[in-house]
């Protein structure tokens, strides 16, 4: 086991669908009751109704939607770059001695760098605009994607490769015909791990450097003492996370019907 062994996505029914939601309703009721009674300072916890109204207003004014699109654009483009580079490199690391020799130590050293700490560096190198954020997301999500691609390409069943060889597949076609499809589930797992990471990086960058987006909108609420904005943005982020996670899982099921 080395540091770069990313575990499978561990989850259970517990996160796939709660058996009961009475506790949530209880919490919401309690939230509303306590805040309306003025038992807690408005700034710390405004009533949920106020938060929802704020959320509605931000949505109608277009601010929330614009911020969401901005954040998603940054996260997705970064993720796209990381996927386009990370998957082939990861597979080559596993199948090609030279590429493996070159990249293995780089991954060992590069992977543990807390990617968030590079935000000030990227601000220096690429400024505080979109490009800087997209590149950082790309760099940050490259590691889990490449490592998962590498590990699953390494784990390809030797008998499958031999099967293809005996049926006449030439050596140079093996990667395409056997390694890639057999590694596909693991590769997709890497992307599933990288998706929340891309948002994690984008949010912090937006909070530190500004330039719009959900992270900026959320922290702005704190700085301008409009906590309803912070809460409303957080709920929006939660919804987005929920939808993205579900979508990716649906895509996985569709793509990997055979697995």
């Amino acid at each position: 086991m080395d540091v770069t062994n990313i575990a499978r996505i561990s989850r259970h029914d517990v996160v796939e669908g709660a058996k009961s939601i009475y506790s949530l309703i209880l919490l919401i009721a309690l939230w509303e009751l306590i805040t309306q009674a003025g038992l807690i300072h408005y700034y710390f916890l405004p009533p949920l109704s106020d938060v929802l109204i704020e959320g509605y207003e931000l949505t109608v004014s277009g601010e929330m939607i614009q911020a969401s699109l901005l954040t998603l654009k940054r996260a997705f483009l970064g993720l796209l770059i990381a996927t386009v580079l990370g998957v082939p490199i990861g597979i080559l690391i596993a199948r090609n001695r030279f590429v493996g020799w070159f990249f293995d130590p780089i991954i060992t050293i590069g992977y543990p760098v807390p990617i968030i700490s590079l935000i000030p560096v990227f601000m220096l190198w690429f400024g505080i605009g979109d490009v800087s954020k997209i590149i950082l997301v790309g760099v940050g999500t490259f590691w889990p994607i490449a490592i998962n691609a590498r590990n699953s390409a390494r784990a390809v069943n030797q008998n499958l490769i031999w099967s293809a060889r005996m049926m006449g597949t030439p050596k140079r076609n093996l990667v395409w015909k056997v390694v890639v499809p057999d590694a596909a589930p693991g590769v997709l797992t890497g992307i599933q791990i990288a998706l929340p990471l891309s948002l994690i990086i984008t949010f912090v960058f937006e909070m530190v450097a500004g330039g719009g987006g959900l992270g900026h909108l959320e922290i702005q609420g704190v700085r301008s003492f409009t906590s309803t904005q912070t809460y409303a943005t957080l709920i929006a982020i939660m919804l987005i996370g929920f939808v993205l996670d579900g979508t990716l899982r649906k895509i996985r099921r569709r793509l990997l019907r055979w697995a």
Partner: protein, 263 residues
């Protein structure tokens, strides 16, 4: 890593080969650093991309001179607190959720709500409640690490081999003791896996919180060196924190192996 991996050498001749293997293995890193060294000053201005050797020297200096030790200790303090709280709460919550249905019914919905939330979105909330400082950082680390630990503990306790429980019962373990004497020990390996997954997350959460709302700590130091334009020091601090993260993760793996000799 298998084919370039060399074993610990006992005899002299293999010892020499061992050194050779190590050099060959880490050569790519040397190449990259060399390119960086070349690029610095030639392709990119030295202030923007300081040479790696300078950065390394400053990194050592920052630690040895004690300039950064205060921040390092503060950050370490925060991460240990946040992680310990997450372990304490997470293991208990996960295991009881798995074994006690009403508890699962109560907390399950919150877990599924928090699960897809990118955890750094919680930083502003922590700032809102606790302002800037250690409390915020600890809270963020705690919240970010909680879920992997809860989920792994839950899975672990949920999937305890029923035969173990039965054989313990057969040998006279009471239902009251079952939890402490069978379920928890059987679940420990997976619980530890959850904690291992949480360690790198803890570092990300810590640095996020410190970049956004802190006036001490490693993350704060990186940002302030950047704002002051002392870029060598900024990079040097990043080297230090990366090293700390690396040691943290590796160290935990070692502890894991030590503790779990029986698996």
């Amino acid at each position: 890593m298998s084919y370039l991996h060399s074993e610990k050498a006992g005899i002299v001749s293999t010892g020499v080969r061992h050194v050779g293997d190590v050099v060959v293995r880490w050569l790519p890193l040397l190449i990259v650093t060399g390119l960086w060294e070349l690029a610095s000053g030639w392709v990119v201005v030295e202030t923007v991309l300081p040479p790696p050797l300078d950065v390394l020297i400053i990194a050592v200096d920052l630690v040895v001179s004690g300039q950064i030790v205060g921040d390092l200790l503060v950050s370490l303090w925060r991460i240990i607190w946040g992680l310990s709280l997450a372990i304490g709460v997470g293991v208990v919550l996960g295991v009881t959720m798995a074994r006690v249905d009403p508890i699962e019914d109560f907390f399950g919905v919150f877990m599924s709500l928090i699960y897809p939330l990118p955890k750094t979105a919680l930083v502003p909330l922590a700032v809102l409640w606790l302002g800037s400082g250690s409390g915020t950082a600890i809270l963020v680390v705690f919240l970010a690490c909680l879920l992997p630990i809860v989920l792994n503990s839950y899975n672990a306790a949920e999937s305890v081999d029923q035969n173990l429980v039965w054989s313990a019962k057969m040998m006279g373990t009471s239902d009251r003791d079952m939890f402490r004497r069978v379920v928890v020990p059987a679940a420990i390996p997976e619980i530890i896996t959850g904690i291992r997954q949480a360690v790198p997350i803890a570092f990300v959460a810590l640095v996020s919180a410190e970049l956004i709302a802190a006036n001490r700590g490693i993350g704060y130091r990186i940002l302030s060196y950047g704002q002051l334009g002392i870029y060598e020091s900024m990079l040097a601090v990043i080297v230090v924190i990366s090293l700390a993260a690396y040691v943290g993760v590796r160290g935990f793996e070692r502890i894991e192996r030590r503790v779990l000799v029986w698996t």
